[in-house]
């Protein structure tokens, strides 16, 4: 075993003292797969012995993660075998969940949905899915609800984490998803890490940044975060704005870049347009208007607004212009009411400097879930979109999908359905009569949580019917009327699509426990039963698909001739290869590292976006209006609820290394739970001294919406006036989302988890 461990390390990190070839322990069979946690998409090899998952190693053959995994992944084999895995369907009877058979469960599910649709119309039902379901599962749910039932009330938890990044990409470049890839890490000289605790939340990406920093003293890191999180240990410049006041900083960086003539005139003239919003409508403006707009954001003025010293802003601006610059960001930008605008301003910096579309230079939104990109964003499993860049509001797009799906003409409604927050409000107001929740835990993860838990669970004469499909009991299953046990990860086959547009195949290598079934099987069963009830056209689901392989083939067809084209990603190729990055238009294409670049992006060579007039290496933003990316003149909108006299602190929530999201998986590894056994609130020592608070004191955190009682951790990590609470714990006192605010970005509809006003007191 020792030799196996050493060679595994050597094959990833390189070592002469040991054999390079991995020596597998006897009788262990290895299977190529993908990690179940974040959107980094680490390749893993899973060791099976005697039908049981006994080992996990990073896949050294993986082209981008190269054998690395983080600490959480080590525990996946244990998490799969957690004793409290759900094994049987359960229905609420006389107030308690009781075991029932699958036939009764599916009859109940289809019956409740059928009844609601027949009595109250298709918009009385809703689907709330997940960036952790397989792509085929999300696609099938979207197809069933939008084209079969005829409602756009189709949402997923990526609305809570990635929607503003989508809004940023779409409003700037015309289509979602990053144009660069992890390949750019190898070439970047400047890393701009914004609102991203990369070290703890994307550790494998952080290692690659560290490797670049080790390799050359010329590699520089700018960290922009109001917390002094672990990335600051390697940062050359740390910008720590008051939470919610970073937009002036980004504008001030643009101000410095242009004032010091560090912008790229040629790139701008060729590839960029400028827009502002007047009276609610976007209007074109000139470069000179942009320069004039930026006058209100000199570094000195930005310092007054953000608290970041002007000199640091100027230093960061010069580095970004120096390049090649790779920006990574996550929730610090996205979970804001100005989330789309904040994203736009990062794109602005890349566009005015031309730091885009060349090795090492790209803006790149990192993803928190393993399949938010491929499973929800790309398949269009949100209320306003359809698969592969199509929009609900676009009649041509609706017609394309109706034809492909075999739905009747006009089956897809022309208006977006309810977004996540509005969907749960509708549940509270009894406008939604039946909801299906799949592989997610809104009973813990929604902001302003008490309101929505009441909507899901409180006793009412006409309580909405809530069905939850999950592998584990959660704070949502306890509110459900029907709980269906789900297969997870190694127990089902399908595709995950991660942050860099790479789609990867995950094989089924073992059976699920008890009577658990895959989400795909459950959705397929539901579709067939709804057909029999007459609320979905006969044969619409039941005659089309037998396995996720069949769904994948239809998905490839749906992607053809779109900006996502992955026609060439056949099932066989995905089973063989370590993932492929779209566009990948034919089965001999190797996949695309950089989009929009002639010579790299195959869509510039053939198909609807082809252009033979541009030269190799040149950029064409073919999805944007007039083929030009947009630099937006966005006002510096403040947060919805800044600190005030009564509520003098700003609360921000986030993650820690050992846990993930609502802890549904990581809390089931005893070791991870022991490593971070309880929730805590970080308080700056200046604030703690003033209030007489010490580490270990129990603190009541109160907002206008609710309270939590959590132990203090006095540390110089958050800036003064800021509190930070990880949101992984489910016990009553630690449910920090009872405190957070459900105000959301008017464009992306993503809630402002990162900022709300609170007061604190020792208990």
């Amino acid at each position: 075993m020792k030799a196996a461990a050493m060679t595994a390390v050597a094959s990833v990190a390189g070592g002469p003292g040991v054999a390079r070839a991995f020596q597998a322990p006897a009788e262990v069979s290895w299977h190529k797969s993908v990690c179940r946690f974040c959107g980094t998409g680490c390749g893993v090899l899973l060791g099976m012995r005697g039908g049981r998952l006994v080992a996990l190693r990073g896949d050294p053959g993986h082209p981008t993660t190269r054998g690395l995994v983080c600490a959480k992944a080590l525990f996946l084999p244990k998490i799969v075998y957690s004793r409290d895995r759900l094994r049987h369907p359960m229905a609420r009877k006389n107030g308690r969940l009781e075991r029932i058979g699958w036939e009764e469960a599916m009859d109940l599910l289809a019956g409740k949905f059928g009844q609601a649709i027949q009595e109250h119309g298709p918009d009385s039902v809703a689907y709330y899915g997940s960036g952790q379901a397989l792509s085929e599962e999300s696609y099938l749910a979207n197809r069933l609800f939008k084209g079969g039932i005829g409602t756009n009330n189709v949402e997923g938890n990526p609305r809570l984490c990635m929607a503003s990044a989508v809004g940023g990409y779409v409003s700037t470049y015309g289509k979602d998803e990053p144009m660069g890839s992890y390949d750019d890490i190898e070439h970047a000289r400047v890393f701009f890490l914004v609102g991203s605790n990369t070290a703890e939340c994307h550790p494998v990406i952080f290692d690659q940044i560290l490797a670049r920093k080790q390799a050359s003293r010329n590699v520089l890191v700018i960290a922009c975060d109001p917390r002094r999180n672990p990335i600051c240990s390697i940062a050359d410049v740390h910008l720590d704005p008051i939470p919610g006041y970073d937009l002036p900083v980004f504008h001030a960086m643009a101000h410095v870049i242009i004032k010091e003539n560090r912008h790229n005139r040629e790139f701008i003239e060729k590839n960029v347009q400028f827009k502002a919003v007047r009276d609610g409508n976007p209007i074109p403006v000139a470069f000179e208007d942009y320069v004039k707009f930026l006058e209100q954001f000199s570094p000195e003025k930005a310092e007054m607004m953000s608290g970041v010293p002007a000199g640091k802003i100027a230093e960061a601006a010069r580095l970004v212009a120096l390049g090649p610059t790779l920006s990574f960001w996550t929730m610090g930008l996205n979970q804001r009411i100005a989330g789309v605008w904040a994203n736009n301003l990062i794109h602005n910096l890349h566009l005015i400097t031309g730091q885009i579309g060349k090795p090492g230079a790209t803006p790149f939104s990192l993803t928190g879930q393993p399949n938010a990109c491929g499973g929800v964003r790309d398949t269009g499993t949100l209320s306003h979109i359809l698969p592969y860049g199509r929009a609900v509001k676009n009649p041509e797009h609706r017609a394309q999908m109706e034809k492909l799906w075999g739905a009747r003409s006009g089956a897809i409604q022309p208006q977006p359905g309810l977004n996540t927050i509005e969907m749960f409000k509708a549940l509270a107001e009894d406008r939604i009569k039946a909801m299906l929740v799949l592989t997610t835990n809104p009973g813990q993860s929604l902001p302003n949580l008490t309101k929505y838990r009441d909507a899901m669970g409180k006793a009412r004469a006409e309580k909405p019917f809530i069905a939850v499909i999950d592998a584990y009991p959660t704070r949502t299953t306890e509110l459900a009327d029907l709980v269906l046990p789900a297969a997870m990860w190694t127990e089902k086959a399908g595709v995950f699509g991660m942050s860099e547009r790479r789609y990867q195949y995950q094989p089924k290598i073992q059976d699920p426990p008890g009577e658990a079934r895959s989400d795909f099987d459950i959705l397929l069963d539901l579709g067939g039963r709804l057909e029999k009830l007459g609320v979905v056209p006969r044969g619409y689901i039941s005659e089309k698909f037998k396995s996720t392989d069949d769904v994948w083939d239809e998905m490839r067809l749906a992607s053809r001739n779109t900006a996502y084209d992955f026609t060439g990603m056949t099932r066989d190729r995905l089973k063989r290869e370590r993932g492929l990055r779209w566009p990948c238009p034919d089965d001999s294409h190797p996949g695309t590292s950089r989009r929009f670049v002639k010579g790299e992006d195959p869509l510039l060579d053939s198909g609807p976006y082809a252009d033979q007039s541009i030269l190799k290496g040149e950029i064409k933003f073919y999805a944007a209006p007039d083929n030009r990316a947009v630099v937006w003149l966005r006002p510096a909108m403040p947060p919805a609820e800044p600190a005030s006299g009564e509520y003098p602190f700003v609360l921000s929530t986030g993650r820690v290394l050992e846990h993930w999201h609502t802890g549904t998986m990581t809390m089931r590894a005893d070791e991870l739970r022991r490593a971070q056994p309880e929730c805590y609130v970080e308080i700056n020592p200046l604030d703690a001294d003033r209030l007489g608070i010490r580490t270990g004191d129990r603190i009541r955190i109160t907002s206008k919406r609710g309270e939590a009682i959590i132990k203090a951790r006095v540390v110089s990590i958050p800036r003064p006036g800021m509190l930070f609470v990880p949101w992984h714990w489910e016990d009553e006192d630690s449910l920090i989302n009872r405190v957070t605010i459900d105000a959301y970005d008017p464009g992306s509809k993503q809630p402002e988890f990162k900022i709300c006003a609170v007061k604190i007191a020792k208990v």
Partner: protein, 92 residues
């Protein structure tokens, strides 16, 4: 018994000293890798939790260690050891 293979990314300017500090940790076996900025680590522990604690608390806190990445884990404990988080009840 659990065995974890990992590597630490270290300050290359102080490689020898960092390596010595790591070797002094009990339960940690250090081996060389090609890259002077990395050292290989083997951690043997009674369970994965202890191994994890060695990595995240002790190795990571050694001066000159920039980060630690596990690569391999092998353990074949009794599945009944995993208690789950909430027991068997769905209603609380």
């Amino acid at each position: 018994m659990v065995l974890v293979g990992a590597f630490a990314r270290i300050d290359p300017t102080g490689g020898g000293e960092v390596r010595s500090r790591l070797s002094a940790l009990s339960g940690v076996e250090v081996f060389d890798l090609d890259d002077p900025g990395k050292v290989g680590l083997l951690i043997e522990a009674a369970d994965t939790g202890l191994a994890h604690r060695v990595l995240t608390s002790r190795v990571r806190n050694v001066e000159g260690v920039w980060g630690v990445w596990p690569v391999y884990v092998h353990g074949e404990g009794d599945p009944r050891e995993e208690t789950g988080r909430m027991g068997d009840s769905l209603d609380r």
